[in-house]
Subunit: 258 residues, 4 copies
């Protein structure tokens, strides 16, 4: 089973580039499942119906989120009805939407989990225990993909090692910069600290760099906007054993617009 | 001019692996300058005389530091006498040691600067303005290498773009995970968000992973210790134009112990 | 029922001043229950057997803790055996010690809860929901005292209002500076944002002020030690209705050594 | 010289209550100078022309600010023209407005300084050194009032002790909860960790408490609005020696609307 996981998609620019790149990739490569982080799809902040539909049309099958989950109020209106969108599972009980979803890939069930780190980032429930509880509730599913949305490399690596041998993949998101530490951990879990992003390449995390630099220099509030210019597409491709669910390999799939 | 910049060296394990790998690299490749981040050289915390000497013997010519600069009290005794060791330049006036150093590579002067980010990390002076001041004080030097020790990818990217065309290279350190976004920015500055680390590969940032995971799970204090097992070496190699100081290329140099 | 709640006791100096002041107070005033925060009792960091015994001897009946709970390893050896010591209840499951305790005052049961805020402070479970669960498990107890150990005034006020009418008192600790907003909230809960501390008055939070100022100025690591000189004692005294458990009043009890 | 310093004024409710209380206070008590923190005057976020005018009409002579300084864009249009408004002095060079101002009280010059802490709050220049520089530039002025806008009690106490004997008063703002540690430090500086606020009493920091609690419980974004209901007025009154500028006394001036 070949899975493509796409990093944080930033703005309309990111949505469009996902469309473009997936069109090409799919023709070359058999992709059994496409998952993408959509927390920045709308002007860099959150997800709405239109953006979700566009990503589905492009081939994305499951959308994960992060700290920007609820930036677009519209999401609350439809997240409970759309099983293809998940938000971090360690939000408190009662939060709109779900933290995991089960989909079918051929005859196999695949469990996709979204979880958020706490270091420098959020005040949510323990990410480790919350994932444990979801895994315990799905003892029969062997193909499990975890989007670990977190700031600190230590917390992401900790999640990778903590789940090694218990899930198929732990894929970091949120920092928008792809890391080069992708590997299959000893017990068979594909891991990368950060997948990266899709959107303008010459911005800062996809946002206009003059505004970001200006804010760091002045320490005054400023409204970020999505950058312009050539785009980048960061994703990882990994193959899972059909029977065991363990990862066979993982590789980065970077695409840069000229 | 070929420069090798080595990421955070963790523990005795890291020191030894630097020795081993530099021995091999230098025989294959002409290296005109070797710079390394040594903030974690002593049990993961700070630098002392012995560790510095060992790194010099291995071929390292300039040692940069970071948030762990003063973890070993011994450093304060000799940092002012050793121009090969620099600590972040945006520490307040009066801090032991210097934030930059000038060395000779052939006939060329090379300015090496160490600076620390503030987001999630430190309460130091503005990193951007502090680097500006150092550059202004050295108008004649065209070969300038900046170690940007920071947590947030946004702040590191901001420094890269802010200095593009004004320095030869901006190399991120501190997260211990190498990123795959190395590139020469449009105005000629080599950039990478994080170079990575040297030390045990199967730890978390080089430290024993059971202790790190245990602390995240229990939220109780625990003393970290350096991990065991096979090691990794992360560095970047970049070439600078002799005349202009601009970067011609940059590439990652990962080495993994079997 | 008259309850005295004493703020964070700092060092041996604090322990001794508790002894001294409680001796005088008890002779003037009928105190039915004495609770104290002991997280800084040992050199400013944590609690051990000797300090706990000394506080009991001085008249303290229940000791609460905070972010320094596990700074003295010794505590883990006896916290499970001593029902008079509680640590924040929102530590994860499996943490040594308990987060609440029930004691008898005359014929009445009194439930004392210790909880920790998360803003700027800790990565624990939701303090609000954790307290809810404890209250639900003790529907018969009307006298409930909550030590809300937190940094942010907003989170402490939120806890006060959240529990108003459901507990007898919400008393803030941790900042070591007494606030003057003590009041009985509309539904009968005694509240203060911070009770203050017991220990050296001319230090900073009870610690040597030159070291604290030096660290802020230099941003270099430094080991704090308890200050010297005249001491202060901060506590609140509140009266609870015997039948309903609601607070009748609350007042600060500051004592300053000449 | 009698000085009244008023804590963070929140919303229109706060502005109106300042009017009302100052009307009464001034008739009873000779006030030579009235300073107020206005960072929350407009719906809890920032200051604009209208709010400033209203505060001047009420009797306020100098307005200080804090982390909300630039929340109302309008301020940037007039802050440079109005010497009665100051923002934290440790913003970087080039920031609109000034960080201190000199006014005349009778024949005496009074220097008022606004500075912001960094712990948990901001990434500005060193507050201690920045104040030092302002003091050095005004060696002739003996009456100096410092608004230390900060989150951490340790950093505020550090500023008080650091400046003891060099300024007339260090008055903490930002937490919106008045502390009861007002005193004249040994060398003659009036000090309080936090003055408190002016605005709705039954909110949380003056804001609607259901929204604040809801956000803490849900960890979802929510727009704060100013609370309703009876108001509180927190200020400190202190007397300065005409010749030496040292503080003779300091006392809290709390007023609660029935
Ligand atoms: Fe994110
Ligand atoms: Fe993102
Ligand atoms: Fe570091
Ligand atoms: Fe490091
Ligand atoms: Fe504490
Ligand atoms: Fe404490
Ligand atoms: Fe503020
Ligand atoms: Fe404020």
């Amino acid at each position: 089973m070949n899975v493509l996981f796409i990093g944080d998609i930033v703005g309309l620019e990111g949505q469009e580039y996902v469309e473009e790149v997936l069109g090409r990739l799919s023709s070359r490569q058999k992709l059994d499942l496409i998952v993408a982080n959509g927390e920045n799809a709308v002007h860099g902040r959150g997800l709405n119906r239109k953006a979700a539909e566009r990503l589905y049309d492009a081939g994305v099958e499951i959308i994960t989120l992060g700290n920007h989950t609820f930036d677009q109020r519209e999401l609350q209106e439809f997240i409970d009805e759309d099983a293809r969108i998940i938000r971090p599972c360690n939000y408190p009980p009662g939060t709109p939407g779900g933290g995991f979803t089960v989909c079918k890939v051929g005859k196999k069930k695949v469990l996709v989990i979204n979880v958020m780190g706490r270091t420098f980032l959020s005040q949510l429930d323990c990410p480790f225990r919350t994932v444990d509880a979801i895994l315990e509730a799905h003892p029969d599913i062997k193909h499990v993909i975890v989007d670990m949305h977190a700031e600190a490399t230590s917390e992401k690596l900790a999640m990778g090692w903590y789940l090694d041998g218990r899930v198929s993949a732990v894929l970091g998101t949120h920092t928008h910069v792809p890391t080069s530490d992708e590997r299959v951990l000893p017990q068979g879990t594909a891991y990368i600290t950060d997948v990266g992003m899709v959107g303008p390449r010459d911005g800062i995390l996809g946002m206009d760099r003059d505004i970001v630099i200006g804010r760091l220099l002045s320490q005054m509030p400023a409204r970020f906007s999505v950058a312009k210019g050539p785009r980048q597409f960061h994703a990882v491709l990994f193959e899972l054993d059909e029977e065991t669910g363990r990862a066979v390999n993982i590789s980065r799939v970077p695409v840069y617009e000229p």
